[in-house]
């Protein structure tokens, strides 16, 4: 029962965060928010890239070398072929190979 309450709290707070901006701006969308909608997506993706790599330790272990090589593969492939699926699959395969076999 207590678990069900906690799960419900997590679900409701998460929903609140996702719905709040839509509820607040349901009628009028201020120009400032429209502007944020234009400039935030690339900034947020940049943030998520760092967020995913936050636990990479440059000073010990594998020094982040597998991450750097795999990330470079993704960037290079994406710039070359412009095919996200290909870039992601190849980058992940390179990374798995590196962490399982090389490092």
């Amino acid at each position: 029962m207590r678990t069900a309450v906690l799960v419900a709290v997590m679900a409701l707070v998460t929903m609140l965060l996702r719905f709040l901006p839509f509820i607040v701006f349901r009628k009028k969308v201020p120009g400032y928010v429209v502007y944020l909608g234009e400039v935030l997506p690339p900034a947020i993706i940049g943030m998520l890239v760092i967020y995913c790599l936050k636990d990479v330790d440059l000073l010990s272990g594998s020094h982040g070398i597998p991450e750097m090589i795999a990330a470079a593969c993704v960037v290079a492939l994406q710039a070359w072929k412009r095919n996200s699926l290909l870039s992601i699959l190849a980058g992940t395969a390179v990374y798995m190979l590196l962490v399982q076999a090389a490092f």
Partner: protein, 252 residues
């Protein structure tokens, strides 16, 4: 798959599949080891549907956290979803009956697939976005339940497969960098977050980073609006019509 919109949406969602299934399995196993079975895994993945929060949630449940602690932790861990919603207000504005689910299902990965506002030619954009969001949640829920039922890791080594999520964001970042002429927002996101990571450490850098990004982009508003009007029509044709109607509405 006979319907083109289903096929297109499925193809778009494939990059998320491996990551969600495997991370879902990880979550299912974690929850099962904490003493909660497949039904709980299903319920959490269906109703909370926020990956990192569910991992944290297992700790809250087993650690005997209070309702207040749970609410505050969720608020902190998921604050970034406010950010996603704010930036999708214009794009989801006219989504009609799909709108509630689109908002509910806006995870990091779904956001990164849909935030550029591009949808394939000749398909209903809202149905397309709904299907992409729905497929992604199917992967996550299936993974969670599978992990709970299996209770063990897959028979082959999946070590490193979590990089597919990182790769998704890197590919999306690169693609936007190539497509958009204005690189300031992307560079701002990257640099601000890196700076906050160095200053605040990996546990608590995300909220300062979001504030810093918002602050910098707000200060740059004048410059970019000017810049944008010069290049508009070339880089963001897809977004522009909706934005214009929003601007008009905003001025009324």
């Amino acid at each position: 798959m006979k319907s083109p919109v289903v096929r297109q949406a499925f193809i778009k969602s494939v990059p998320v599949m491996a990551g969600y299934v495997v991370l879902g399995i990880g979550f299912g196993i974690l929850l099962r080891n904490a003493g909660y079975g497949a039904l709980w895994a299903f319920a959490m993945s269906a109703f909370i549907y926020a990956g990192s929060m569910q991992y944290v949630g297992v700790g809250l449940i087993t650690g005997g956290a209070s309702v207040i602690t749970t609410a505050l932790t969720t608020l902190m861990v998921n604050a970034r979803h406010l950010f996603y919603s704010i930036s999708m207000i214009s794009r989801y504005r006219n989504a009609g009956k799909y709108k509630p689910y689109l908002i509910f299902a806006l995870t990091d990965e779904t956001y990164s697939l849909l935030c550029d506002g591009k949808t394939p030619e000749g398909v209903d954009p809202n149905l397309y976005r709904f299907l992409v969001s729905f497929f992604n949640q199917c992967y996550w829920v299936s993974g969670s339940v599978l992990g709970s039922l299996l209770g063990t890791v897959l028979p082959f080594s999946t070590e490193g497969i979590e990089f597919s999520m990182t790769a998704l964001f890197i590919a999306s970042f690169t693609e936007q960098w190539i497509t958009l002429r204005d690189h300031i927002p992307a560079a701002t996101g990257l640099a601000s977050t890196l700076l906050c990571l160095v200053i605040f450490g990996s546990e608590s850098f995300l909220i300062p980073a979001m504030l810093l990004i918002t602050l910098i982009l707000t200060l740059l508003r004048g410059r970019m609006t000017e810049d944008r009007s010069k290049v508009s029509g070339q880089t963001e044709e897809k977004i522009l019509p909706a934005d214009i109607s929003d601007r008009e509405e905003a001025e009324i």
